[in-house]
């Protein structure tokens, strides 16, 4: 909802009214006086019992088309152009044709199933290298890689069938194919494809990740049903991982852990599409599902607890952990069951009294809540009118003994927009946008008083970068906290914390000079020393788009954009791993480390998954899975 429609409760208006909260203004000021947050405890919604809230799927409804009366708008015209056939991107059709042919060849249950689409002179390399070496072994997993064969020594369909079987395409194998390059030439085209296979046999779990380079001959009479013929197939990279633990390393135990709680059925087993068809935009319910998680010991019993943010009209939940590892829902009694759309939250000891206080970024207010030590929270202060708060990251940037907070504001919220984010304002220019929201550095002045220190600290330059996430780390080992900010449409920032000679702190953006601008679709950021050289490294979550890769490497695309093509190609490359070095600079090792393909990545984190002392990587990804199977 747009800010003018949003009535912050009277008590907050009072807080603003006394003239202390002048955020987004020039000079940082001491803001709230003590305990004026009392009134923002909120109002518990009236309970109600409404009959017939559930609906079976068996209700049959009749869809109705109402003839359009209005002329086609610019949006309508674009919708038509999104079809590559109408948009002139024939390479997309070639990619689709190649994908279909590879699917036929890799259909794991198609024993027989007709002749494969191969050219008369078809030849290929072995698909599973004969020379394979175990490159790494854990207690339960073994990783094999092979020398990539150079010679196209194999011919004929029967040979290919044997190869496909040898690589593990058997009944029950899960096959995933992504075409990431398409290049047309005179009588055909070439593609590069990522092939991923997975199968479980008894106690063995096997995964193959391979790159295949294919040459295709376009069939004589175009438009024939048979499609292009595979002429050459070369293995470009091969990795095989076998796990022998029987069960997977990670198992979903959610139902056992929280299934007994009231919110589980409807807030976990229903997705955002369900709610976005029922709860209105009036209360800010949107279908993007940008709702965060925070881990902390809320009630001081030594066990971790979980706080979940949820959409407008759905209460945030606090789940306290029981001794047996299950959870109990303490949302209502905790006082933190906010119904306003909430993007993220952090457990932090804001007043250094030994318990975990809570910051919640709701659409109307950034709420600072004090913990009574037993998991009951009371609002102490709130900051209204942040344009579009997303991820938050905390650290004591001024080393004064309390933690401060950096808040990423993704979109700018124009006063007249009912929607937020990129639907209200398109990011411009796409590869380096600067018209997003203004990020905020909130300095902790004690007693839950926070002031806007953004400009004073020199962080004003982050304004408008469509920031999704940020993370603090003393990357230069000088004793103060530096900040990396990940921006969705273009270059990221690394703000070095510089102490001014006369006192005071000034952040300076050194992303360019240290090589971590990472012009891409930044979604997340994490720090760790992955190579154990003592210097902190960076992993940035970005978007990998197969279509983006196909199109942006086509000559038709690059030819029109001599200056920006490479930058836009980079937008679709995927995640980035920057290796820190002793001279302060970072080196982009993403491709040699083979960690770019995090797909459409969101949270991308370091974690030593198998206790071997080396930081591994985990990536949560995927954008919009809807009912229709086609993908935009």
């Amino acid at each position: 909802m747009h800010p003018r429609l949003k009535n912050v409760s009277i008590s907050v208006i009072f807080l603003i009214g006394i003239g202390v909260w002048i955020l987004l203004k020039v000079a940082p000021r001491d803001t709230a006086s003590d305990d004026k947050g009392e009134g923002i405890q909120g109002r518990q919604s009236a309970p109600h019992e409404r009959p017939d809230q559930t609906n079976g799927v068996d209700v049959r409804m009749t869809p109705i088309e109402i003839p359009a009366s209005a002329p086609a708008t610019a949006t309508d015209l674009h919708e038509r152009k999104l079809d590559p056939r109408a948009d002139g991107w024939d390479g997309e059709l070639l990619g689709e044709a190649a994908l279909n042919q590879l699917r036929r060849i890799l259909a794991s249950d198609a024993e027989g199933g007709g002749a494969w689409p191969l050219s008369a002179g078809f030849a290929c390399t072995p698909l599973r290298p004969n020379q394979r070496a175990e490159v790494f072994r854990t207690g339960t997993m073994a990783i094999h890689r092979g020398e990539v064969p150079q010679e196209m020594s194999l011919r004929g369909e029967a040979t290919l069938r044997a190869q496909v079987k040898a690589v593990g395409v058997l009944p029950g194998t899960r096959v995933k194919i992504k075409i990431v390059r398409v290049a047309p030439h005179t009588n055909g085209f070439s593609t590069r494809a990522l092939i991923e296979l997975f199968r479980v046999d008894d106690r063995r779990r096997t995964q193959v990740s391979a790159w295949w380079d294919c040459e295709w001959l376009q069939a004589e009479n175009d438009g024939s049903e048979s499609g292009p013929l595979l002429h050459r197939l070369a293995l470009a990279s091969y990795e095989e991982t076998v796990a022998t633990s029987g069960r997977a390393m990670f198992e979903d135990v959610t139902h056992a852990v929280i299934g007994d709680n009231a919110g589980y059925r409807d807030q976990v087993l229903r997705g955002m599409n369900h709610w976005a068809a029922r709860l209105t935009k009036i209360d800010d319910l949107h279908f993007f599902g940008h709702h965060g998680l925070a881990i902390g010991d809320a009630n001081g019993d030594g066990m971790e607890d979980l706080y979940l943010c949820d959409g407008g009209g759905l209460p945030n939940r606090l789940y306290l952990q029981n001794a047996d590892g299950t959870v109990r829902d303490a949302s209502a009694e905790s006082g933190a069951d906010w119904l306003e759309e909430s993007k993220s939250a952090l457990f932090l000891d804001l007043d250094n009294d030994g318990d975990q206080d809570l910051v919640v970024a709701t659409v109307a207010l950034l709420l600072f809540m004090e913990n009574d030590g037993r998991g009951k929270f009371r609002v102490r202060s709130g900051i209204p009118d942040l344009p579009d708060p997303h991820s938050m990251s905390a650290a004591d940037y001024d080393n004064d003994g309390d933690v401060d907070l950096f808040v990423c504001n993704y979109g700018a919220k124009p006063a007249d927009a009912g929607r937020s984010g990129f639907e209200a304002t398109a990011p411009i220019p796409f590869h380096d946008a600067n018209n997003g929201g203004r990020n905020v550095l909130l300095k902790n002045n004690g007693k839950f008083r926070f002031i806007d220190a953004t400009r004073e600290a020199g962080l004003e330059t982050t304004a408008g970068r469509w920031s999704f996430a940020a993370a603090w780390e003393d990357f230069d080992d000088d004793g103060d906290q530096d900040l990396y900010v990940s921006n969705d449409f273009g270059r990221n920032n690394l703000f070095r914390n510089d102490q001014l000679p006369g006192g005071g702190i000034r952040f300076r953006d050194v992303a360019g000079e240290l090589g971590v601008e990472d012009m891409a679709s930044g979604m997340s950021v994490a720090w760790a020393d992955y190579n154990r050289d003592g210097k902190m490294d960076l992993y940035v979550g970005n978007m990998f788009s197969a279509a983006g890769n196909r199109i942006t490497f086509r000559r038709r695309f690059t030819g029109n954009r001599p200056n920006t093509a490479e930058q836009i190609q980079r937008m679709a490359r995927g995640n980035t791993l920057f290796q820190g070095s002793s001279d302060g600079r970072f080196h982009d090792v993403s491709e040699t480390a083979a960690v770019t393909m995090g797909r459409w990545a969101w949270s991308s984190l370091f974690a030593d998954l198998n206790n071997d002392g080396w930081q591994d990587l985990v990536v949560a990804n995927g954008y919009l899975t809807n009912e229709r199977t086609d993908d935009l």
Binding site: D52, I64, G271, H390, V618
Partner: protein
């Protein structure tokens, strides 16, 4: 799709590019996936063997590769068994996964670990920003920092977890560099244990091992089936869009007017079996419905279908069910407005389908929306608590679970303004109507003045539009409306004068040009127009 403009100032390009974004999102909202069904990734650091080189893709073998629309992800040794578990937050169902790590149970190479919770005394109590370096007897050094907020919308545990590799590692010490740069060495660290390291203590406090954690069974979380049917109470009362219909037997459409009782507006098709079932039920319960104080108006959509209601299915349905309430058929424009309103209120709107009913209060505000059939007891409940209840309770009724609000409910005026926006390009007349409602129901004068300005600008823009399109009557209507609301609007006087002059109504035109010049003697257009008018007369 349109390329991104490189400058914000390139207005046409910006418009085109924005429209392209809108088009993509519109397709997604119509059910297309966009980078959907993607599987999460896990990359294993091959460490010593290949220092600085490739990670191994273990997404599938690790079991992490759920095909969810992932968002937040947090790392914590939730159950204290010595390996890092994950909680994942998704967009689609299941929206939450607790992914238990089985490494410390299953993997003989994953048995050595320590966990450290740092505690500041002089520095911040959470020790955020502190870095711990674990030094093993064999010279291995591992370091981690306490972070608060990494990834996307995520906060992982503030416990530092160190895997120590296989074999029998000997922990020599842990060196903590506190924020600010002071270093402190801690001894007394034991393998496979959790420790608290307090600033200044020099020695680790050994915490008791966790016990009593159940062996939770793994299971598939089956999302609940998706249904198109829904009974929705709105968080505020939304004035019904302009609604006209043909009453049964009448050829001329009539507007739906305010009444003395609430009304269930039921939209149906003669070809819809569920509609028939529902209307049969309403027939059987007619007395109860009337006693509850409710009227029903059932409007068919069949005449809008290509070919119209040729087979008279709607009439047949009404006849066969002996439907005892008012009936008729809806006009295309009215049906379009209702579809547009429903499509605008929800971020992922359901396809427009019947039966669809709207519960209206006597003033013809929408209180609830029923997609699919509605049970009588739901109707009775919503009549009593929604239509009959206090306006502030609507927002509480609209939500499925209790919780806490810190914002107030939307006011009627704000709601009307909210809806007005959605009619901006679809139906400018309807937009103005909602803005007028917003103006008259505004609770403070500043807000009212603001809205009034929007209404005036809306009428003027429209008057000009009609004027340049040669639609004289409509243009005149809106110029008059503009000047009625804002008699001192100089540009409106000038433009209205021009319209009149072009129709040959020179005397009337002159009055408006002169009025424009009284309001602003420097109005160059009005001056020029007046001069042209004089020349015209002299001819």
């Amino acid at each position: 799709m349109a390329p991104s403009p490189t400058e914000k100032t390139d207005a046409e390009a910006v418009k085109d590019y924005s429209a392209a974004w809108a088009a993509i999102m519109r397709l997604a909202r119509a059910g297309s996936s966009w980078s959907g069904h993607e599987r999460h990734c896990a990359f294993l650091n091959c460490g010593e063997v290949e220092q600085g080189a490739r990670f191994a893709n273990v997404s599938a073998v690790s079991g992490l590769d759920f095909p969810d629309d992932g968002r937040a992800l947090v790392v914590t040794d939730w159950d204290g068994d010595g390996d890092l578990d994950l909680w994942a937050r998704n967009r689609n169902a299941p929206r939450l996964r607790m992914l238990r790590n089985n490494a410390s149970t299953d993997d003989p190479g994953a048995q050595n670990w320590i966990a450290l919770r740092l505690e500041g005394r002089k520095v911040n109590r959470d020790a955020i920003g502190a870095r711990a370096e674990v030094v093993l007897a064999d010279g291995t050094r591992l370091q981690e920092t306490v972070h608060a907020g990494t990834g996307f919308l995520s906060q992982s545990s503030k416990w530092l977890h160190f895997g120590l590799g296989s074999g029998a590692p000997e922990i020599r010490l842990v060196r903590v560099r506190w924020p600010g740069g002071n270093s402190e060495t801690f001894v007394g660290i034991e393998n496979k244990r959790r420790h608290r390291l307090s600033e200044g203590a020099g020695k680790a406090l050994l915490l008791p091992p966790r016990s009593g954690v159940a062996d939770h069974a793994a299971s598939n979380q089956e999302p609940l089936p998706v249904s198109g049917a829904a009974q929705i109470i709105l968080p505020g009362r939304i004035p019904l869009p302009t609604m006209t219909f043909h009453p049964a037997g009448a050829s001329a459409p009539v507007p739906l007017r305010e009444g003395s009782r609430p009304l269930l507006l039921l939209i149906f098709s003669g070809h819809c079996g569920t509609c028939r079932t529902e209307m049969t039920e309403f027939t059987a319960e007619a007395q109860t419905i009337r006693e509850a104080g409710l009227e029903i108006l059932a409007l068919s959509l069949d005449s809008l279908a290509p070919g119209g209601d040729a087979d008279g299915a709607a009439a047949k349905l009404i006849q066969e069910t002996e439907f005892p309430f008012l009936t008729g058929s809806v006009t295309a424009a009215s049906a379009g407005r209702i579809r547009h309103l429903l499509g605008s209120l929800f971020d992922y709107p359901a396809p427009f389908s019947v039966p669809l009913s709207l519960l209206l209060d006597a003033k013809r505000n929408i209180v609830s929306i029923y997609r699919g059939p509605v049970a009588l007891e739901t109707l009775v409940h919503d009549l009593r608590h929604g239509v009959g209840g206090h306006i502030d309770s609507l927002r509480d009724l609209a939500i499925p679970f209790p919780g806490r609000w810190h914002t107030k409910s939307i006011t009627g005026s704000e709601l009307a303004e909210f809806v007005a926006k959605y009619f901006h390009s679809y139906d400018p007349a309807e937009r103005l109507r909602y803005l007028e409602i917003a103006t008259t129901s505004a609770l403070n004068s500043n807000r009212a003045a603001n809205l009034r300005r929007q209404v005036i600008d809306g009428h003027l823009a429209w008057a000009r539009d009609y004027s340049s399109g040669g639609k004289v009557d409509q243009a005149t209507f809106h110029f008059e409306k503009t000047l009625q609301l804002d008699p001192e609007n100089g540009p409106a006087h000038n433009d209205f004068g021009a319209l009149l002059a072009n129709q040959g109504k020179l005397a009337e035109a002159e009055i408006h040009f002169r009025r424009a010049l009284v309001i602003d003697p420097d109005n160059a257009l009005a001056k020029r127009n007046l001069k042209l008018l004089t020349q015209l007369r002299n001819k």
